[in-house]
Structures are given as C-alpha cells and as structure tokens.
Symmetry: C2
Subunit: 398 residues, 2 copies
C-alpha cells in the first residue's frame, strides 16, 4: 500500500481463506500465502521463526481471539483492527501482552483513519478527560445524513448495502452495537473507565422517520447516531442512540460515512477529531502506522483504567414525537403526565398537512431525569389516542 | 496541574527568573526553586543527579537553546513547548538526542492542546500526507473572527492585548512569523520535508479591512490567516497569509483563539484536528502528556524527512481588492492587464455606498499562476487612478 515499504518492516506471510483466489501480483514473491493460520501461529511447529508481529484483520471474537492469544503467548506483538475483540477482551489481551513484554496495538479499532486512539494515548494522557462523544458508525451516519437530505430509510439502507457500506443484516450498525463497542474502547482510554460494552444502552436508529427530520429542522437541529459517555462526579453515563444535534455543533457537520470524536478535557477543553473512519484505505493507514511505530520501538502509553458501572440516569432535554388519532384532550393528557413528574414543557410543535387520524406532533421538554420522563411516557403510552409508542430522542446540549 | 501526579513522575526543580516572587504553596516542599539554570544543567557540578528530564518552557532561541543542548549533551531527555527552537534548530537537536539515546519531545510546540504532533507521528505515519493546512495562530484567528463580526482591526488588537492574547509588539503573530515556524514543524512531520522557516513566504493580516470581510461574505467566504503547505509532484508550495475561506470549509468554523489543522493523505483522505491551540492549560496538557509518555517508556516515531526548497508558484484563484479614485477606463485597464497574462476574470464586484474618490471594488480571477498575476498587478499598480497597491488574497479551494 505504501509507495515504499517503511524501513524495518518486511511482510512474510499472508493468511486468508480461499487464499488462491486472493493472490495479487504486486506482493513480493518471498511472501508465503496460506489458508492455514497454524502455519504462522503454531510455535511448536517452529513456524513463528522470523515472524515478529502478527497483524489480525479477520474481525469478530473467534477465531481472531484464539489467533491473537496464540501470538501473544508465543511472545509476538499484535496489531489489530478488531474493535469487538478489543472492546470485549482487550483488558485480558493487554495483560497478556504486558506479561510477555510484547505490544498489542489497535489504532484502527476506533475511527480507522482518524488518529483518535494515538491522540488519546500520546497527546491527551496529561489531561483529565470528562466526556467523549462522537459519530462512530459510518453506516448510520450515511443513512441519517441521506435521510436529512430527504431520502427514505429503506431506500437508503438498500443503497448503502449495494455500495458495501452496510451489511446484509444491518443490525450491528443500526441497533448501535458496533458504536457501543467502539465507545467502550474510548471510555477506557479517555475516561479511564472499564465498562462491558453490553452495559451501554443502545437504541436503534430505525424508529427515526422523515417527520422527525422535518421537526428537527424547525428546532435548528439534525439527527445523528451519537455515542456519548460522560463522567459527572462519581457517576458515569454512557449511551448510543439517535439524538437531536444542534446545527451549530461540529457533530452536525459530518456527512456520509465520516466519523467524528470530540473529547472534553478539564484542562484542554474540547478537541475535535474528524475524517474517514472506515473503509480499506483509512483502516490500512492506522494499521501501517501502528506497524511503523512498532518498528521504531515505540510502545503504547498504557493508560490505567478502573472497573466502572454505567448509569442511564441523565438530566438532558428531550424531543418526543407522538403519532395520534386526533381528538380533544390529547395535549392536556400529555401535559398533565409531564407535570405530574415535574417535567417542564419547552415547546409543542404541530406542522400542518398530516391526516387527523394519523397526526404526528412533537413536544420538547427542558432537562429532566431520564427515569422521571420514562414514568411519564408509560402513563402517556396508555392514552387510547396514541397509535404507537412515542419516539423519545435526547437533545444534545452545548 | 493534574488531580494526581502521573505514576513515575516527580518534580524536583523549578527554574525561573525572580523565582522568589513566583513560589506557590501547592508545590511539594521537596522541590528546589532557583533562578540559576546551571544548578540543574551543569553536569560538572553534579547537579543533574536525580534529574532525568528537563522541561523547557522559556521559549525563544536563547538561552533556551543552550539549556536544551546542555541537557541533551548530559544524556537527559527534554520536553519543550518551544516552536521557534524546534522549527529553526529541531533537526540538530533531534540528532543530538538520538546520538545520546535520549528523547526530545515537543507535542506542545504546534497547536498546544490538540494532539496534532502525536497524531502525525503515531497515527498517520502509515499514510502519504500530501497537504497540511490550518489555523495555527490563535491571536490572528481571534482578530479576524472578531473583524468578521464587525470589529475594527485596531480596536480588536488592543482588546486582544488587554486580554493577553496578543503581545505589546504583535508582529510575530500578525506578520505570520509564529505560524510559519509551526508550519515548518508540521511540514517535517507531515510532508517529510525539511524547510527553513524563513523560506516560507509570510504575508501580514494587517492589510485586511472591514470592506474585505463584506466582499468575502458576498462570495460566501470569510477571511482567516491560513498556513498551508502542499506537495504537487516534486514541487513543494508553502505560505502563511490571510486567505478567503469558503464558509463550507471546516477552516471557516474556527472561532476565537481556536486552532485547526487539516491533513490530506493519499490513502486516509482529510483528517481534521481542532481545539484550543494555546494558553497555559492546553499547553500544559501537551507537556504533561509528553512526560507521561516518557514515563511509560514511549518514544517518538522518528519520521524521516529530507531537505526541500519551497516555491511560491501556485495555481489558485484570487480575490483582488482595489481602492481607486473613480474615472472611466479603470475596469478596462485592469481587465486588459489580466488578459495580457492570460488570466481569466471570474467576477467584478462593486458595492454601493462608498465615495467615488475612494472607491473600493473587487475582482476575482480563476486559478492562475502566482508569477503571472504578480506581473499583471505590477502593470495595474502603475495606473494613476489607484490610490494604493491592490490587496491580493488567495481563495482557498476544495
């Protein structure tokens, strides 16, 4: 990929399934192509002779995890782009690397071509980061920024699948599972908090409709899948969900498959990183950069972190969109349920042009506790006029 | 500064002029305060015993350069925020550090609290960066973003001086000398090109007026001091100057003293870094991050670079503002001089409301060679109707 190979690095083996079909002629003839990982990884077979670093690009927990463990156990450094493996098993793998005196580098695991991980390790280790938020999934950003421009969810998903931006089963992306794995890694490095990714609440972007983009625009906002974690005193909040993002926020500027990360430090303030998060070339930049670092004898700055538990209790403003069969008393009922929980209404928006028997309208509320709003929405959900459960989106402040 | 001192770091000495007046009570009593640098740096006196790292925050070439040389010669690593020293003498100092097996870290030298240097060294070493551009001087950005909002240059400069954003003699900032030192450092790390800072053409922001912001707005642009270097084949262009920046560019989003750097990689595309570039706290974040890295045994990824020469020849569009004593034939004369150099006029803008004997108007031209436009402007400059030399600003493309 590089115009010239960086000094000190030599490619010796390529392991791939159906390797014969994947051979290319620009790889030096000295390289061994194989579909047998044990040829590279089984120290007993003596095959690790001459191999110093294993680059793992298979993704997923297995067999990648077994391969990485074998490499570390044999005293080989590992460079990986595997966000899932690092999010779920990274602490254990890092401990293995330390015990063996080798290195585990994963700059490509979050926001591929954007140096967020090196930035946190080498440039922000001296700050006290209290918040990290961002757009960590290019597929969702592509879908939502196309919907902002007027496209329909199903159409743009099909288009994204056709272009290779989205998987045949898009659940990992649209449900927020991909972004929360990345957020868990960032929380370790930025907030120094160890959290199991499954403990981070993820809400899918699938319930966002064209109506919501239209109302968001009236509120001078757009809608993005936001991954966000914040330390508030001893309390740690973290979530991945579609949110209303003010147009003035850098997070609203991202288009297409772009990724963006904003860290907020007690001393250094906000730092914005943005660029191409995924795709072959940006990922390769991060992987090769890790390899160049290894060849230069650099190591990761091992940022210490501690086990933490995540709370879903937050005090933020909300956008709530209802779909009702219009009749008298609906607004009074909603306002009553909110008042009952001491939640202040901020605005009621109702755009013309919708049928009265399937009428969407929107309420925004001032910052309130998540738990209080949840109770109010349970009460509101029982009103017979409601045609579906209300869509509740947090509004990003700042 | 940190809530708790990072593991492995202990402050032993503080050297400062008039040190008695600067003592603070929150520094451990074990620390030696002195105004005598030789107490820390003179190995002969045995005073370096127990000192592993020298942090140099004095700035300027001397005596900081002598101190850094003494520290490196004595086999001590150095962390510095000194952009001038690194821009002018960094190669020599790095060679000294390598020869002594110690480290010279300067993450704070460019864009203070934004991890651009660690990002380039550890995250983008695997890309082939072809362009680096940015807003590297917070003072100029403060002045120009206030002028964009309607303030007068002299007033806002005085205000910036009052707030400590600008020096009593603002030449280093407004003439572009500060930004070009930083650009020279970025060129070494991003473009792998060694350039003497004085070879980078710097144009002052002082000729930009309220009229120019008004015309820029009509062109859907604003004006910023832009530091920009680009490899075009074997050709290397670099400059620091006020430029017209399209409102759609991330560079137009920076406000106040914010810094921003955009790198363009052949493989990873554009990466944007932004945040607080200067000030005590962001600089401290970068310095402490370098110290934490040192304590963790990390080292700089020594990116190889080569001597290069800078050209001022570029092919970009221009904004040219004239101030004339209005009379027939002016536009014909200007158009003729441009045509004579095969430069295509793009637009002629003349806003109403100015006196005819001091009439500003603007011409924009399509991308043309700098040298050709210079010849045309010399010819135009001889027209008797011109009250002052025209203001020529490059228009940032993309």
């Amino acid at each position: 990929m590089l115009d010239s190979a960086p000094e000190g690095l030599e490619l010796t083996h390529i392991v791939n399934r159906n390797v014969e079909r994947k051979k290319v002629d620009w790889v030096p003839s000295s390289v061994t192509w194989t579909d047998d990982a044990s040829l590279v990884l089984d120290a007993e077979a003596g095959s690790l002779a001459g191999v110093d670093v294993i680059v793992e690009l298979a993704g997923g927990l297995e067999p990648a995890g077994t391969w990485v463990r074998k490499a570390l156990a044999a005293g080989r450094s590992v460079v990986t782009a595997n966000k899932k493996l690092i999010a779920y098993q990274g602490l254990e793998l890092e401990a293995m690397a330390v015990a063996k005196g080798v290195r585990l580098l994963y700059g490509a695991a979050v926001a591929g071509g954007i140096p967020v991980i090196p930035g946190l390790e080498h440039g922000l280790a001296g700050d006290h980061v209290v918040r990290v938020e961002g757009i960590l999934n290019g597929t969702c950003n592509y879908i939502l920024s196309k919907m902002e421009a007027g496209a329909d969810y199903a159409e743009v998903l099909a288009e994204a699948q056709g272009m290779g931006y989205a998987e045949a089963d898009p659940t990992e992306d649209v449900a927020g599972y991909d972004a929360r794995a990345k957020l868990a890694i960032l929380m370790r490095l930025a907030l120094r908090s160890q959290v199991h990714p499954d403990e981070i609440q993820a809400c899918p972007i699938t319930s966002v409709t064209a109506i919501d983009f239209s109302y968001a625009k009236d509120l001078n906002c757009t809608i993005r899948q936001i991954a966000r974690a914040e330390k508030i005193g001893s309390h740690l909040a973290a979530t991945v969900r579609p949110m209303l993002v003010p147009m003035a926020s850098p997070l609203a500027w991202s288009r297409g498959t772009e990724n963006m990360v904003i860290t907020t430090g007690k001393y250094g303030g906000d730092v914005v990183f943005s660029g191409h998060g995924a795709g072959g070339n940006p990922t390769a930049v991060a992987v090769v950069s890790d390899l160049v670092g290894l060849a230069h004898g650099s190591c990761r700055v091992a940022i210490p972190s501690e086990p933490a538990t995540v709370s879903t209790e937050l005090e933020v403003p909300h956008y709530i969109r209802f779909l009702v069969d219009d009749r008298p008393g609906i607004v009074a009922g909603i306002a009553g349920a909110l008042a009952h929980e001491n939640i202040n209404l901020n605005a009621i928006l109702q755009k013309p042009g919708y049928p009265l028997d399937r009428l969407p309208f929107v309420v925004t509320v001032e910052p309130c506790k998540t738990s209080a709003l949840k109770r109010a929405l349970v009460e509101i959900g029982q009103m017979p006029a409601l045609l579906e459960q209300p869509l509740d989106l947090q509004i990003l402040e700042k």
